[in-house]
Amino acid sequence: MFTEATQIQFGIATVLAPIASFVLIAALAMRRPMLAKIISLSGGLVSLVLASLLLFGVGEPGYKIQATWDWLLKEPAGFSIGILLDPLSLVMLWVVAVVGFLVQWYSVSYMEEDANQSKFFAFISLFCFAMMGFTIAPNLLQSFMCWELVGLGSYLLIGFWNHLPSAATAARKAFVVTRLGDLGFFAALLLAATGLGALDFGSLADSNMASGWKMGLAGYDYGVWISLALFLAVIGKSAQFPLYGWLPDAMEGPTPVSALIHAATMVAAGVYLLARTSFIVVLGSESVQTVWHGLAMLAMLTALMSGMVAIVQSDIKRVFAYSTISQLGYMVVGIGSGAVVAGMMHLFTHAFFKALLFLTAGAFIHAAHSNSITEIARAGGAKLKLPMIALGAGSLALMGIFPFAGFYSKDAILEHLFVEGDWVLYVAAMFGVLVTSYYTARVIFLMLKVPADDHLGHHLHVGGWMKLPLAVLTVGALVAGNLWMWKVEHWFHVPHGEHGNAVLITTIVSTLCALAGLYYSARVFYWKKSEDPMANWVGLANVLREKWYLDTAYDKLVHNIYLPFTAFLNRIELRFVKGALDGIGTGSMAIARTLARVMTGEVQQYVGVSFAVVAAVVIILMNR
C-alpha cells in the first residue's frame, strides 16, 4: 500500500510527533494548560494514526524494513540510530500509540485541577517519544538509550507531585533500582560491541553470528553472558524478583501514569527486549537455553509471589501493581521457555486490560478521593456505572475467562508449557491463575459488599474525558486477543503442530482454576460463608503484608550497608587522604622556615643555584 520510503517516514513521524509536542509545550505552553493539552493530544493523535496505518496497511509475513544513520561516530560505523519496522516493532508501536493517546485523553479530565498540568502533558509526551524510540530501535545502542530515557520519563512522572516526600522518594527508588538492572544492559552492550563486533539486531541475529555466540568467555560463552546481562536489565525494568520493589511504590504517580508507564508499556519493555533478542536462544549453545529457562523459573516465582501479595493489599492501585508484576512474570515465563509469540501476545492483551483497570481505578480515586478499596466503596463507588462495567471487563480479562482477551494469551503460554512437557512451570502457572482470579475478584466483591455510606455525602461523577478511554479499553479487554489472532499472529512464523489435546486440556484446567479462585473469593468476600484465609494464616499474611520483606531488605542494604560504607570511605578521605596532605603541609612549613634563611632576595644567587641544578641534571643524564 505504501512504498518503503513512505513507511520509514511514517515510522519516524510516529516517533517524532510526541517529542515535538514536548518541545512545543516546553517552549510555548508551560503557563497555558489548554494549549498544552491541544498540543499533546495532537501529537498523540498523529502517532496513533500513523502507527495504525503502518500496522493495518503493510503487514505481511517476513516483513522487515530498516533505515539507520551514524550517530556516535562516523567510523567505526555501527553506533547508529535508526528505525526498524517489523511485525514485532509495529505491534508494540501500535500498543504504545493507542494506550498513550487514550491516557492523554483521559488525563484531560483527571488532571484538570492540577496547577502544573502543562508539565504533566510535556512529560507524558517525552515518555511516549522514548518508549516509541525504544520500540523501533534497530540496535542495542538505541535500545539502551531509549530504555534509559523511558526511565527518565518514569522518574519525572512518578515524582510529578514531588512536593510529597513519598512521591519524590518513590521516583528516586524507581530510578536507582532500575538503573541497577541497567548495568546489565550496559554490560551486554560492552560484550556485544567488543566480543561480537556488532550491535544491530540484524547482524546479531544473522546465522553467521552463531559461532560468535558460542565463542567462549571466562568459562561460558558469549550467548550465556549476554543473556544473563540482559536478564538483569529485564528484571529491573519489568519488575521481576528480586528487583520488583520499586513498582508498587511507583503508584505514587498520577494514576494515568500508572496505566501508561507502569502497566501497559514501560514495564513491558523488558519483555519486548527479551522477544527482540530471543534469537540468542536459536543461535547460541545449549546452555543458553538453560539460562533462558532459568529466567522463566524466576519469573514464575515472581508471578506467584507478587500474586499472593496482591491478596492482602487494601489500596486498589497496589492490587493492580502487584498484579502487573505477576502478569509480567507470565510474559517472561512464555518467552523464557520459548513461546516468544505467546509472550508477546500476552503483552498485547495485558496492555489493554491492565491500562483499563488502572484507568478505572483512577476514575474511582478521582471520584472518591481515596485509594482504599473500602473507602471507595463506602463513598458509593459501586454506583458508578461505567467504571463498574470497566472493572468487570478488565477483571474478567485478567482472570483469563472466556471470551475475554486474557483468556487467549494466557492459555497460549500455558499450552506451550504443556506441549514442552514443562510440568513444574505448568502446574505453578495454573496455581497462579487461581491466585490471580482470587485477588482480582476480591476487589470487585469488596466494592459490591461494603455498604455505601450515604452520610459521606459524596456526589460521585466520572470526568467527561474519562469515559471514552474507559469504553474503548473495555472493548479492547474483550477483543484484543481476537484482534491479535486475526491480524498479527500470522506475521510471526508460529509452528502450528497438532496440539489438540494441549489446547483442550489447558482450556479446561485453566478455566476451572480461574473459576475456582473466583468462587472461593466470592465465598470469602461476597457471601461471607468462608473465613478470610488470611485471618487463619497470620504468619503468611504478615509475610505478604511485608511484601516478602523485599523492601525491608532493600532499605537494609541502603541504610545498613551502602551508606555506612560510604561514610567509612568519607572518614578515610578526611583522616588519611586529607590528613596525609595536611601532614606534608605542616612538615614543609617547618622546612620552609628553615629555608627562608636561604632566600636572600638576590637574583644572582637564584640564577646561580638554578644553573647548578640544571648542570647537575645534565651531567647525570650524560653519564647514564
Binding site: L152, F186, A193
Partner: protein, 483 residues
C-alpha cells in the same frame, strides 16, 4: 594571508588584562563590560575555529610559528588538532559564562577580572601551544592566579584551600619541569618543539622513566586518585566563577597534559604504566562516587563527583584504545560544561542564602524552576543519561576500556548506579519535597544573569543529541594517536 585565529583567541584575554590595567579605580561596570567584550570576541573566534576546523584532513591546523628563544630552539608554535580545538572551545564557553556569573563580584572588581582573564589566557595558551617550554610557562600562568583568586575572593576556609591547592599544583609542575629538562637534554634534537620531539621519539627505558613524572605531575591537576584532595577543598573555597574555571577547564589542562606530553610523547611509557594508571583511575571513579554520597555541602558533592568524572577521563586515557581516547576527550568537554553549570547554579543559590547545605533547601524546583531545571539537567548528564552530553563520553570510555581492562571496567561501571544514587538524593533534598528553611529566600532571576546556565544546559543537550558535532573532530585525532 590567513587570519592568525589562534593568536587572536589568545590575545583576547591578554588585551583584556592590559585594558583593565588602564581602567581607573572604581569604574567597576567598565571593568565588567570590557571583560565581557573580550570574552565574547574570544568565544566568537573559538566557535569559528571549531567550525572551520577541517574534520576530513584532521591533524594540526591553524598553525603559526614565530621565533621566540632561538638559543634554546624554542619557538612560538601554535596549532590545534582535535583535542586542542575541543578544549579551546570549552575554555571559551566557560570563560564567557564565568564572566557573566562573576557580574555580582563587588570586592576589588578590577583585580578580580585581571586575574581571571590572566588565568584564562594561560589556559588558552596551554591548549594551543606546541612548544614544551612555552607550554610550561602558560601552564604556570594558568595555575598561579588561582591562589589569589581563592585566597582573596573565596569563602569557606579559603587560605587553607588556596595554599593546599597551590602547593599541590606546584609540586605537580615541579615533576613536569624535571621531565621537561630531561626531555630537552636527552633528545638528540635539542628542541622544545612538541612535534619534532614526538616524531624523534625516545628510548623505551627513558620513556618508562619519564612517563610517571608526567602522569603524576599533570595527574595532580586532573585530581587523579589519591592526589585529589586539594580539588574538592579548592572548589568549595573558590568564588563561583573560579570554581567553574577550575573544574571546567583547569582540571582538563591536567588531563590534556597527560595526553599530549605523556601519552603522545612517550607512547611506550604510557603502555608500560597503563595498568597502574588504569587502576588508580578506576579507583577514583568509584571512590569519588561513593564519597560524594556523604556530602551535605553542594560544592563538596560536585567536587567529589568531579573526582569521579575526571577519574573516568584518566581511565579512558590509561586504557589508550582509540575508542577510550575518543571518550576521554569527549568527557573532558562534557564534564567541563556540566560542572560549569553546576557551580554556576550553586553560586546562584549561595548568593541569595549564604548556605550550600542541602538540608537548608527543599522544594527549590517550584521556587526557582529555571535554575532548578538547569541544575537537574547537569545532574542527569552527570549520571550518564542518554540524550545529554555525559552519555556519549561514558559509553565510549567504558567501551574502549573494556577491551583493554575488562576487570577494571567492570569495577568502574557500577559508578553509574552509585552516581545515580548520590545525584538523585541531592536533587530530591534540594529541589523536591517540602520547602526547606532557606528556600523562601531564593528567587529566579532575570534573563542576563540566567543566560550562562541556559546556554550551558543547551550545550549539554546539543552535544548529547548530536555527538558527531564533537566526535568528528576528536575521532581522527584518536585514530592518529594510535598509529
Amino acid at each position: 594571508m590567513e587570519l592568525p585565529i589562534l593568536s587572536i583567541i589568545l590575545l583576547c584575554p591578554v588585551v583584556g588584562v592590559l585594558l583593565l590595567f588602564m581602567v581607573p579605580e572604581g569604574r567597576d561596570n567598565v571593568v565588567r563590560w570590557i571583560s565581557l567584550a573580550v570574552s565574547l570576541v574570544a568565544a566568537f573566534f573559538s566557535v569559528w575555529m571549531f567550525v572551520a576546523y577541517d574534520r576530513v584532513q584532521a591533524g594540526f591546523q591553524f598553525t603559526e610559528q614565530l621565533p621566540w628563544v632561538p638559543g634554546l630552539n624554542s619557538t612560538y608554535h601554535v596549532a590545534v588538532d582535535g583535542v586542542g580545538a575541543t578544549l579551546v572551545l570549552l575554555n571559551a564557553i566557560v570563560l564567557l559564562t564565568g564572566v557573566v556569573t562573576s557580574w555580582s563580584i563587588s570586592f576589588r572588581v578590577k583585580e578580580y577580572f585581571i586575574l581571571f582573564l590572566l588565568l584564562v589566557a594561560g589556559v588558552f595558551g596551554s591548549f594551543i601551544c606546541l612548544d614544551f617550554l612555552l607550554f610550561f610557562i602558560f601552564f604556570e600562568v594558568a595555575v598561579l592566579p588561582m591562589y589569589l583568586l581563592i585566597g582573596i575572593w573565596g569563602s569557606t576556609n579559603r587560605e587553607y584551600a588556596a595554599l593546599k591547592l597551590t602547593i599541590m599544583l606546584l609540586a605537580g609542575s615541579g615533576l613536569v619541569f624535571i621531565g621537561l629538562i630531561m626531555v630537552y637534554f636527552t633528545s638528540s634534537v635539542h628542541t622544545f618543539d612538541f612535534i619534532t620531539l614526538r616524531d624523534t621519539g625516545f628510548s623505551n627505558e627513558f620513556q618508562d622513566l619519564v612517563y610517571p613524572l608526567m602522569f603524576l605531575g599533570f595527574g595532580t591537576l586532573a585530581a587523579v586518585f589519591p592526589l585529589h584532595n586539594w580539588s574538592p577543598d579548592g572548589h568549595v573555597a573558590a568564588p563561583t566563577a573560579v570554581s567553574m574555571l577550575h573544574a571546567g577547564v583547569l582540571m582538563k589542562l591536567g588531563a590534556y597534559g597527560v595526553l599530549r606530553y605523556g601519552i603522545e610523547m612517550f607512547p611506550h611509557g604510557a603502555q608500560t604504566w597503563a595498568p597502574v594508571a588504569g587502576f588508580f583511575a578506576a579507583c577514583g571513579v568509584v571512590y569519588g562516587a561513593l564519597v560524594a554520597a556523604q556530602q551535605t555541602d553542594l560544592k563538596y558533592m560536585i567536587g567529589y563527583s568531579s573526582v569521579s568524572h575526571m577519574g573516568l577521563v584518566m581511565f579512558g586515557l590509561a586504557a589508550g584504545t582509540t575508542m577510550a581516547i575518543n571518550g576521554a576527550v569527549y568527557q573532558m568537554f562534557s564534564h567541563g560544561i556540566m560542572t560549569a553549570l553546576f557551580f554556576s547554579a550553586v553560586g546562584f543559590f549561595y548568593e541569595q542564602t549564604h548556605t550550600r547545605n542541602i538540608y537548608d533547601y527543599g522544594g527549590l524546583a517550584r521556587k526557582a524552576p529555571w535554575v532548578a531545571t538547569c541544575f537537574i539537567m547537569a545532574g542527569l548528564a552527570g549520571v550518564g543519561l542518554p540524550g545529554l552530553a555525559g552519555f556519549p563520553a561514558e559509553f565510549m570510555i567504558f567501551l574502549g576500556a573494556f577491551e583493554r581492562f575488562p576487570v577494571l571496567t567492570l569495577i568502574a561501571v557500577p559508578s553509574l548506579v552509585f552516581g545515580a544514587f548520590y545525584m538523585l538524593r541531592v536533587l530530591q533534598s534540594v529541589f523536591f519535597g517540602p520547602e526547606g528553611g532557606k528556600t523562601p529566600q531564593v528567587h529566579d532571576v532575570g534573563v542576563f544573569s540566567g543566560s550562562p546556565r541556559v546556554l550551558l544546559a543547551g550545550l549539554i543537550i546539543l552535544f548529547g543529541v548530536a555527538p558527531r558535532l564533537l566526535s568528528d573532530v576528536i575521532a581522527p585525532y584518536a585514530r592518529e594517536l594510535l598509529k
